[in-house]
């Protein structure tokens, strides 16, 4: 699990106490990578690499050595069991990922944005910022390592984007293509020539991928089109074909290794599989849960990994079935202004001992802290998630905004709301009952518009008897309502349901926060600056408290637990105030800008996290903090909660004694779940210490036929490949015989093209062949042998050459092929013939 690793995210503060990330760390920054055997998947998570097994979806190990964000990982081309990673500060590390050992480490001495190893040698390519002709530019550099670790840097391209998806390497590094805005650059590595193409039509490229075997590029743009570019290295107006299915920007393209298929993804939550050559034929894997950000393909094309915006990675087989989902805490990727990132906050479900928070849109996710695993996402709103029409006009979704569990966990109450700003808000309150026999939640009561405005707080009365639970909702419509379970039995069925018992208000100000006392006998409701106390059973106002000389609204309210049940804590924007409810006096008051407040249900402790991310822990009896910890989070903290420890007593060092009964968890804006704990001297190392088990599996019956080690003295025969179809020279013959005889060119001028047409063209690349065309190919040797002889020889050779060609096309037997040396001699001989002066032929006609 992504969350299972506890990695130290912040520098140590205490002797050995630090903030640990429990889950929710971002795995989406960069593309994941498959190992060559497709057994492992490497995921970049900040400064560490997570290794997952693709088969089981289990986390194997974590590679941490880097100190900065890792910007790229590649399999070492020379040894496929090595992984090379590069961080943004230029540190490159070679790993043995099967053991998690660092093999080599060096620094590139510059800031790196993306990192590649496309070439067969050990050279690396990276995108960096560079001063080029007095202007800052983002460039692609190539570094080659010679034998004595000497580095040779070469400049390849400029005007790039600092994004790994904007660049691709084709034909094993033969050319490099990059996109930036509406421009496409293609750079030929050998000839060092560069060509620029424009997209036009006010579209912008989003990603690029190169065909593995052909000179072909696929680009995605923000209008959802995929363009296939051909002969872009040769002409200014290259041939293009358009594949248009996506309606949102294409975020990832990938060719299969054979190049027969193309996969593409976008914001529609759909994986599209195109068949090259017949692009009207496509296959889809829809409803993947969340918009897709990246796409990776394994080197055998059997597996795909899609990175989703909800921080999950799905492994999909080439048959388009999901085989594994790697998921820590589901991130809320739909940031709706009306509800914020984490509207529900952190809630504890005692029945499953799970932390409950917002998950997918309209879902609640259950996350087990003990096992560091997400249990499931519970669909609360029951609405299909539609992907957005465009980025400018986002769809407003119904989001779960409040959730609460009863003490026993039998009841779950949720408030969902959809506010698009111009039509009537859709608010509904749902009461779910956990059904033991079917092990699911059953919807018991649904209340439409429980309040006319946003519901601010939803709470169950704690400590209440099982048969008469109460729930309270507060709202901006100046009211709070108390809901009770009523009997709705009739002669047909036995049933109970929830109904509003009473409704309270105070001075027509908005009811914001609410809290129940430990035993459930008192209810505190905040109305702007006033904290009011009510008895929930008969809804009678007991007392109203205000902070003297304070005009701020009260933002938090909390009753003391256990020994401090007579104390009420309230927090404004700048202050924390504790009232004594026996005397109605202020017990103590401190100036603190608290953003998140949590009370320990097992003791009289409260923890507050301030705006500047400092944690203060108080015992409610005194104003001196028990514990303080600075910089607990890099981004603002949204919510905090004390979760009871699974075991009654957990040993803690003296400074963390306050966490003896309950552990404090808090979540920040980046949706990382954090906690404070002792760092137990390298958890990662301990993990690696396990007994190494020698793999000793019996061989399969076929495996037994193979020797453990094979050595052969047989010299490998180099096969010649002849890529030619049809009769050699047939074109020349048609040329010669096709025209009328009186227009026939002199025979001497026909002879050379005829003979050259009979020869097998050299298997070199076309470019060089064309260049060499005018030069004499054969060595300038003298003409040999008699005239008539030479012609018959040529014919013979022609016949001879025909045979192996056929054989080769069938690929049957290499023994019939002339040995390579012979072939070369023959060829040289034939060239000699071709070079001869054919003037004498004229006399024959």
């Amino acid at each position: 699990m992504a969350a299972s690793m506890e990695n130290n995210v912040h520098p140590k503060i205490g002797p050995d106490i630090s903030v640990f990330m429990k889950g929710g760390s971002n795995m989406l920054g960069f593309r994941p990578l498959f190992s060559r055997d497709s057994k492992c998947l490497f995921i970049i998570q900040g400064s560490s690499i997570l290794v997952y097994n693709t088969n089981s979806g289990e986390h194997i190990r974590q590679l941490c050595k880097h100190t900065q964000q890792i910007v790229g990982i590649q399999i070492y081309p020379r040894n496929h069991l090595q992984l090379v990673s590069c961080s943004s500060d230029g540190t490159v590390i070679h790993w043995d990922y099967t053991d998690g050992v660092v093999l080599k480490e060096y620094n590139l001495q510059c800031k790196v944005f993306a990192f590649f190893m496309p070439f067969e040698d050990n050279s690396i390519c990276f995108i960096t910022k560079n001063k080029y002709k007095d202007e800052e530019n983002i460039v692609l550099l190539r570094v080659r390592f010679s034998a004595n670790e000497h580095r040779e840097k070469r400049f390849l391209m400029k005007n790039l984007l600092p994004d790994e998806k904007s660049i691709t390497f084709g034909n094993k590094g033969e050319y490099v293509a990059a996109v930036n805005g509406e421009k496409l650059y293609a750079y030929h590595v050998k000839t060092e020539s560069i060509r620029r193409h424009l997209l036009g039509g006010d579209r912008h490229f989003t990603c690029i991928a190169a065909h593995p075997t052909e000179t072909c590029l696929a680009t995605g743009d923000d209008s959802g089109r995929i363009l296939l570019w051909y002969n872009f290295m040769i002409v200014n107006q290259p041939a293009k074909s358009v594949l248009h299915w996506h309606s949102l920007p294409v975020t990832g393209i990938s060719f299969t290794v054979e190049g027969s298929h193309l996969y593409s993804v976008g914001g529609e939550n759909v994986l599209v599989k195109w068949t090259m050559g017949q692009t009207q034929h496509r296959e889809f894997l829809p409803r993947l849960g969340a918009p897709i950000k990246h796409l990776s393909i394994s080197s055998d094309s059997f597996m795909l990994a899609t990175c989703h915006l909800d921080n999950s990675i799905q492994i999909i087989s080439s048959h388009l079935t999901i085989t594994q989902v790697i998921q820590g805490i589901t991130h809320n990727h739909v940031k709706q202004e009306s509800s914020g990132t984490l509207p529900v906050g952190l809630v504890y479900d005692s029945r499953s001992a799970a932390l409950v928070l917002n998950g997918k849109v309209g879902h609640l996710q259950f996350y087990s802290v003990q096992t560091d695993k997400q249990l499931y996402n519970l669909d609360i709103v029951g609405q299909n998630v539609v992907s957005g029409a465009s980025q400018n006009s986002p769809i407003i979704y119904t989001e779960v905004e409040r959730a609460a569990f009863s003490d026993s966990g039998q009841w779950l109450a949720t408030v969902q709301r959809r506010a698009d700003g111009w039509s009537q808000q859709e608010i509904s309150l749902k009461f779910w009952q956990y059904d033991n026999s079917s092990q699911t939640y059953l919807l018991n009561t649904k209340v439409d518009l429980p309040h006319m405005e946003k519901v601010n707080k939803l709470l169950f009365q704690p400590g209440s008897a099982v048969n008469t639970p109460l729930a309270v909702t507060t709202s901006d419509d100046t009211k709070f309502k108390i809901w009770g379970l009523v009997d709705d039995t009739d002669i047909y069925r036995e049933r109970n349901c929830w109904a509003c018992e009473s409704c309270g208000y105070y001075k027509s100000s908005a009811a914001t926060e609410a809290a129940f006392s430990d035993d459930g006998s008192l209810l505190a409701v905040v109305f702007d600056q006033m904290a009011t106390l009510w008895t929930p059973e008969n809804n009678a106002l007991k007392v109203a408290l205000s902070i003297p000389g304070c005009q701020d609204n009260i933002r938090h309210v909390l009753f003391g637990n256990k020994g401090a049940a007579h104390l009420l804590l309230s927090g404004t924007q700048t202050k924390l105030v504790v009232w004594n409810l026996l005397t109605f006096c202020i017990e103590w008051c401190v100036e603190l800008q608290v953003v998140a407040l949590a009370g320990d249900p097992m003791s009289d402790l409260v923890a507050g996290i301030t705006k500047d991310s400092t944690l203060y822990v108080y015992r409610l009896g005194s104003s001196t903090p028990v514990y303080t910890h600075e910089n607990v989070s890099t981004s603002p903290v949204l919510s905090a909660i004390f979760l009871p420890n699974a075991l009654e007593w957990k040993r803690k060092s003296s400074t963390l004694l306050w966490q003896q009964t309950s552990q404090l968890y808090f979540m920040n804006e980046n949706q990382e779940l954090l906690t404070i704990n002792e760092s137990s001297g390298g958890v990662g190392e301990a993990r690696e210490q396990g007994v190494k088990i020698e793999g000793n599996l019996p061989l399969t019956p076929f495996g037994q036929l193979l020797a453990k080690k094979t050595k052969t003295g047989v010299e490998s025969v180099q096969r010649q490949r002849h890529v030619q179809l049809g009769n050699p020279g047939s074109d020349a013959v048609i040329d010669m015989l096709g025209g009328p005889s009186h227009t026939l060119a002199p025979v001497e001028s026909l002879c050379l093209p005829f003979l050259t047409a009979l020869l097998i063209p050299k298997p070199d690349s076309k470019a060089t062949q064309h260049e060499d065309e005018d030069k004499p190919r054969a060595p300038s040797a003298e003409a040999s042998s008699s005239d008539s002889d030479s012609e018959t020889k040529v014919q013979k050779k022609q016949r001879k050459l025909k045979r192996p060609m056929k054989l080769d096309s069938v690929q049957r037997d290499s023994a019939h092929l002339p040995p390579p040396t012979n072939a070369k001699q023959n060829e040289a001989h034939l060239w000699k013939v071709a070079e001869e002066n054919f003037d004498w032929l004229g006399s024959c006609f």
């Binding site: 249990l375 669909d379 026999s437 439409d448 409704c503 301990a686 020698e694």
Partner: protein, 634 residues
């Protein structure tokens, strides 16, 4: 001996491993009940698995150090749940031991050459890299896990050895065949023999003592169960030789135990628990204190059955508990598996001894639709299709309307006398005269007392404003609150006809204010009415706004007949100079005088413009005509 398919929970209760007779290994996640992994071995590896053993957690190595500290603090050493198990060892019928890696979801290694017959039990010792196995071939084998080789092999008994178990200090080994033998691991010498069971001992469990108890005593307790035996014995093993060879305590179960799991006491407040799943599918939970001898067999504190409800006329069928695991947590939850292994169901039950015998009613997993959820994505759909009470703002009470209607139907048909009484009550003058209100009041009181809905209905719906006031005034105070409740119920049940009821409420509130103020349960009884009123008022501003808008629209759609029409006609005949004045005068009649001037100006302006335009148009038309003519000439 009947062979039971091996099923073992991981130490923390996170997973359940089960091997089916066809050699497939299944792994369920207990918290969600999902089949996490299913491994079907390749044909050359397949073997019927006879026993399963989970690898102890890797962090076990650190534990001895910790334990020393904990001794002082008086705390317990239990495996932390966050540590992950990664391996399963399986013994096969052929005598090989297979290690399966959960992380890789694949076999890791196969250890061969130790046994010649089926392996019966495995004990894993991670600290010394060894694994103990016992077999039907009478031997006990110590394997090296890392190399997969046999370290030692010795004959355990004259007959098959059924179970092995490591002592808490990992220096001694207990083996069980017909009797229980204690071995020293290093020397492999027999230390002691315990005799007590009459049949083969099939299961041995060593109770790892808590640190507090460990410090006091130098021995430890071992639990054993035997084939066909209804007693589970507890033995006290002490390093000193002179301890007795008999069981110190025994637990009686109703049936042969199939799986047992125990947990030690967390603190002094809770006793240790022993949970036993029997072959017949019952669950027994025992409490025990490890404090020496106990003559009588202990009886279970809690016996649990599971059965189907038998709702639809069927006889309730028992569902067997097939596995149990005690989660040693705060609530002392018991994790049970029931049903069968094609579709096991997991459930966590908090341990409580309020009832000695508990029967859970559960739906039979066999009959539940067999749609196997194949999806990998972890999204659960809660059940929303069942009976759901739906409440809306003006309808904040559960729906009793159905009930009311049905009752009304039945009573009105059955009770003829009521209708007669009603008729007789209104006989005096139903058409012209106002009904006698005293009769209405009496009728209403009677109806409220007898809960006769039709009678109440008659009174409530047939009254006029005047009658309502009079009736309410004459109503005895005892009937006021019941009437209010009846009204509230009706209003919430049928909000669309609440209009008449509101009259009643209004009248009651104004007439009986003083009584209601003194009424002690005022808030409880009137809150419903308050809510309804509140909800109805909530919509008031919106409704009035809507009404205003609708009025505006309708006034546009159906123009007011009369003068409007005339002024429109006047607009049309603007070109006639003479009629202009008429229009103006008409407009002047319609509009306030202050505006008439500007209105006139505007109109004049527009006229001029129109005229100009028209002229232009004419010009252009003429031009066109000219051009066409020209063309024709050409």
């Amino acid at each position: 001996m009947e062979v039971v398919d091996p099923r073992v929970f991981s130490p923390s209760g996170e997973y359940l491993a089960y091997s089916s007779p066809d050699g497939r290994l299944k792994l369920w996640e207990t918290s969600t009940g999902t089949l996490q992994q299913e491994y079907t071995p390749a044909s050359h590896l397949s073997a019927t698995c006879t026993c399963i053993c989970w690898c102890p957690t890797r962090h076990a190595k650190e534990k001895p150090v910790r334990r020393k500290k904990k001794k002082e603090a008086g705390e317990i050493d239990t495996p932390e749940s966050s540590e992950r198990v990664e391996m399963i060892a399986m013994g096969t019928k052929s005598g090989a031991v297979i290690l399966y890696s959960i992380i890789e979801a694949d076999l890791k290694t196969k250890m061969d050459g130790g046994h010649s017959d089926a392996v019966n039990c495995l004990a894993w010792d991670n600290m010394s890299d060894s694994l103990f196995s016992c077999s039907n071939d009478k031997y006990i084998v110590q394997w090296s896990i890392s190399s997969g080789k046999v370290l030692h092999k010795w004959k355990g008994d004259k007959s098959a050895v059924y179970s092995v178990c490591l002592s808490p200090d990992r220096k001694q080994l207990l083996s069980a065949s017909r009797c229980i033998k204690l071995w020293d691991i290093d020397t492999r010498s027999l230390l002691k023999v315990f005799i007590g069971h009459s049949s083969e001992v099939v299961c041995l469990r060593c109770i790892t003592p808590s640190a507090a108890q460990e410090s006091k005593k130098d021995g430890y307790y071992v639990l054993s169960s035997a084939a066909g035996d209804r007693l589970i014995n507890a033995w006290y093993v002490k390093s000193a030789v002179e301890t007795d060879k008999n069981a110190v305590a025994s637990f009686s179960v109703t049936d042969e135990p199939e799986q047992l799991h125990h947990c030690i006491s967390q603190s002094n407040r809770h006793p240790g628990l022993l949970a036993v799943a029997t072959r017949q599918g019952k669950l027994h939970v025992f409490e025990y204190q490890l404090n020496g001898r106990c003559k009588k067999p202990l009886q279970p504190k809690l016996t649990l059955h599971i059965a189907t409800s038998g709702d639809s006329g069927e006889t309730p069928k028992p569902i067997s508990v097939i596995g149990v695991h005690l989660l040693n947590d705060r609530q002392q939850n018991i994790l049970i598996v029931y049903g069968d292994f094609t579709r096991p169901k997991f459930e966590r039950l908090p341990y409580s001894t309020t009832e000695n015998e508990v029967c859970l009613i559960r739906s039979d997993p066999k009959t539940v639709n067999r749609k196997v959820d194949k999806s990998i994505t972890k999204v659960k759909m809660p059940c929303t299709s069942g009976e759901v009470t739906h409440l809306v703002p003006s309808h904040t009470l559960p729906k009793h309307s159905n009930v009311v209607k049905k009752r009304k139907l039945s009573t009105s048909e059955a009770d003829e006398s009521l209708a007669e009484r009603l008729k007789s009550a209104s006989v005096n003058g139903p058409t012209s005269e106002v009904p006698r209100t005293d009769t209405m009041a009496v009728l209403l009181t009677q109806g409220l007392q007898s809960q006769d809905m039709s009678m109440i209905d008659k009174v409530l719906t047939e009254a006029t404003a005047n009658v309502i006031d009079n009736t309410v005034r004459r109503l005895p105070v005892q009937a006021v609150v019941p009437l209010v409740q009846v009204l509230a119920l009706r209003m919430s049940a049928a909000p669309n006809i609440a209009q008449t009821y509101i009259q009643w409420v209004k009248s009651i509130l104004s007439t009986h204010t003083s009584f209601l103020m003194t009424f002690p349960e005022l808030i409880e009884k009137l809150s419903v009415i308050y809510q309804i009123m509140d909800a109805r008022l909530m919509m008031f501003t919106r409704m009035s706004r809507l009404k205003g808008k609708l009025d505006l629209i309708f006034s546009q759609v159906n123009p007011v007949e009369g003068k409007r029409v005339t002024d429109q006609a006047a607009m049309l005949v603007y070109q006639e100079e003479s009629s202009d004045d008429d229009v103006d005068s008409d407009l002047g009649d319609l509009m306030p005088t202050s505006h008439s001037e500007s209105e006139d100006n505007w109109e004049n302006l527009s006229e001029e413009m129109d005229v100009e335009e028209v002229e232009e148009n004419q010009d252009s038309e003429e031009d066109e005509v000219v051009t066409t003519k020209k063309k024709r000439k050409k």
